[in-house]
Symmetry: C2
Subunit: 468 residues, 2 copies
């Protein structure tokens, strides 16, 4: 551990920092507080803690060597990708002083195998660069989310990122053919061969997906791409109730080929967006609930959508459709600008939950009561990915350290058979509520697996399993 | 353990059998040799071993009670579904005398949630019944294989079954939203809530998929269905070389919407099928390699296929297309009747391998040399799922206990970066070759996970990890 003489890389360096500088290069061991600072606080500003040092290896064998040397010294490791997480899973907890291992220099980006529709990328490659590489090769990478220019592939694998197109393509898990990772004992496992079928035992790659850095450090990923779907149509529908949105989205999933997104929001959120962003109202009258859908195909995907819309026989003031890029973007703005419009009211409590589809309308009704009971003066704004039963619950008003609202909402979610974290993960933020979504048997298995792979608890202490 | 007085359920019963009869009912504890016999030999006749008794629980809590009581007595458990496996994973090894737990009475079949496109099924439900239930509800279950009337959902989950439509829908893994399972300590984990997004820790359901009964006994599964695709078109193409088949299949995957199957076979296999089944030749001339593709959609999917075929500009004698059911079945027969046509030559060594797509043509060339080197008089017939890089290597001639050919072919596969088991699993048949597809680090992790979940090694001893 660090002695009192530790003042940074220009002063007397502790042995570990000096050793690691020999592995990754001096400029990639950041010991001075001002160099470490950007890594020590998450982008929301809610999670922060000091790191012993920030180490940025540039290759898998360097990661392995860093892990081995940290283990020799008994130093825990926190892994960080693009630092865009929402649950504090990638920054140190106060009081731990871990080595913070940043994956941003693992930027391997192999050529796309255009026959197989696959490529291998380093954990530090951003989502945006991966999407561009896929597009250039005539394929597409179908996971998309707002943080695309910062979020890294490794972080997205570690958290099983979701986003807008899960209804068609599944989450990150579904795009991962295999991973390369460094384990807590410093060994490397590597499944980057791109085999589409491989039934030779436990799928360790899938075990690492969503494990939030607690079982291994993902260093590279073999990605499965999807065929390009350049023709798109977007429709925004105003409907009388949430239940109608659920029903129409379900009918679309069954009947309309190429449904890529099915999003839900409400009049209060729409009002906020219209005011905040200075947009015109999308329709000549207001509706209690809005369903935004996008369909995409190699050929024009609108026929099935138009047939279904004709069957629904909605009033004219309830439908807006766009096939041109500008028009599609205009409709998407009503949904996508929710986040910034909500932020303009204050720092929200962001809860990211899912419930079974047939409980979604009931949940939407009950959550209003629960929030106004727990915080009568709070503002509640809901929106989400209705195709996946995933709602983002934003509560503005209660101070950041007041967890009463969070607790009430998450208990409602659990009562209704839902998940307390649909896509953001558990991290440190939700660890105390994990038992709402997981039984004691399941937690026992998770702890057993953690013990099997990381017996000393060196990787991401406090994340996911709490004080395990 | 059984004493000398053990003669079956009508005579003096050992304590364990009597105890278990109280749990599952007397008629569901089979101790007499003739009642046990059908469970003790796999359907290929290659794997067999005596069981202490066969126990057929009818509910999850009965499974848990059986597991606990067997653990108390130190008796290992072999799990068996429809007994259609090809690698001896579901029958006792000689000399072990385990309790054989049959899942065939776990036949829960819940109503389809038509909005979500999901249902919950018991492990003992056959693939055929699951497909029918999905069809009746206006959805489809897209994993399909020849043993559909015997293979059970539980077995298909445990082995991550593949089949004909993996190129579009992925293997069994991709259809599993969650499982219910009994662990070696007798506790039950259950993820049947049907949540489409749930990032609350390690995905234990996915860990169990493909674990071949070594980590837990799957008792029920939450299944994700796919929209029905009633309109279909099938095309059989004759091509000059395997590499052409790879290239055309890849172009189809990228350009043709709704590609559901892309199958490969060769002139020697076709000759065998034509002779054995008394079919007319499919085309007016012969070709070195054949590519069979099926596309399906809610609407007619043939447009994209016909455009691609026009671009390929194949000779007339190289293309057969069918859109009507009888015609499609006629074309499929040339591929599907390979198995029985090969069996008419003798009991084949069946190797089920995959290689990266860009190595497939080279593998096809080299495997002929390897087989004729190892067994000059053998007959080699190849066919497979080219869309997944999965080839079934059938070698007729060498006696069943001669593993020279198997060893040579699997070493070639490993040299080329392939998998020694693409879809059948490892079982007992391939355990000795597992290290060809898995590094020592990976095997160490698998053993650690096995130890974490089944520390006494009670579940499926000898399967997958061998004498672990």
């Amino acid at each position: 551990m660090l002695g009192a003489g530790f003042v940074g890389k220009d002063g007397p360096m502790p042995d570990l920092a000096r050793d690691l500088a020999a592995v990754v290069g001096e400029t990639n061991v950041l010991v001075e507080p001002d160099l470490r600072a950007p890594f020590e606080t998450d982008w929301t500003g809610r999670f922060h803690g000091p790191a012993l040092m920030v180490v940025r290896p540039g290759a898998t064998d360097e990661v392995a060597e860093v892990v081995r040397r940290a283990a020799d010294e008994g130093v825990p490791i926190v892994v960080q990708g693009g630092n865009t997480g929402l649950v504090g899973g990638g920054v140190p907890a106060p009081g731990v002083a871990p080595l913070l291992l940043s994956t941003v220099r693992l930027t391997r980006l192999d050529q796309v195998d255009t026959a197989a529709g696959q490529l291998t990328v380093g954990a530090g490659v951003t989502l945006g660069r991966l999407q561009e590489a896929a597009d250039r090769a005539g394929w597409t990478f179908p996971v998309d989310l707002a943080a695309r220019d910062s979020a890294t592939v490794g972080g997205m694998v570690a958290t099983n990122a979701g986003g807008l197109k899960v209804v068609r393509y599944g989450p990150m898990r579904s795009q991962v053919l295999g991973v390369e990772a460094v384990l807590a004992n410093g060994t490397v496992i590597s499944r980057l061969g791109g085999l589409m079928k491989d039934n030779t035992g436990y799928d360790l790659s899938q075990l690492l997906v969503g494990s939030e850095g607690t079982l291994g450090i993902v260093t590279a990923v073999r990605i499965r791409l999807a065929p390009s779907q350049p023709e798109k149509v977007v429709a925004l529908l105003g409907l009388p109730a949430t239940a109608d949105c659920v029903e129409v989205a379900a009918a679309m999933r069954r009947r309309v080929e190429g449904l890529e997104a099915a999003e839900l929001f409400f009049q209060d959120g729409l009002d906020l967006v219209v005011r905040h962003a200075g947009l015109p109202a999308p329709m000549s009258r207001e509706w209690p609930a809005y369903l935004l859908v996008e369909c995409a195909g190699a050929a024009d995907p609108s026929e099935g959508l138009f047939e279904l819309l004709a069957d629904l026989d909605l009033p004219e003031a309830a439908t807006a459709v766009a096939t041109d890029p500008a028009g599609r973007q205009r409709l998407w703005a009503y949904r996508e600008r929710h986040t910034e419009a909500i932020a303009s009211l204050g720092v929200p409590h962001k809860l990211d939950v899912s419930v079974p589809l047939d409980a979604l309308a009931d949940f939407e009704r009950r959550v209003h009561g629960v929030v106004s009971g727990a915080a009568p003066a709070a503002t509640l704004v809901l929106f989400g990915h209705i195709g996946d039963g995933n709602l983002h619950v934003n509560v503005v008003g209660p101070p950041d350290d007041n967890e009463t609202v969070d607790d009430s909402v998450l208990r409602l979610v659990a009562d209704m058979g839902g998940s307390i974290s649909a896509e953001h993960g558990v991290g440190r933020a939700k660890a105390r509520w994990l038992s709402l979504s997981r039984t004691e048997s399941e937690l026992a298995v998770m702890r057993a697996v953690k013990t099997a792979l990381d017996p000393s608890g060196r990787f991401n202490p406090g994340v996911l399993l709490g004080d395990w």
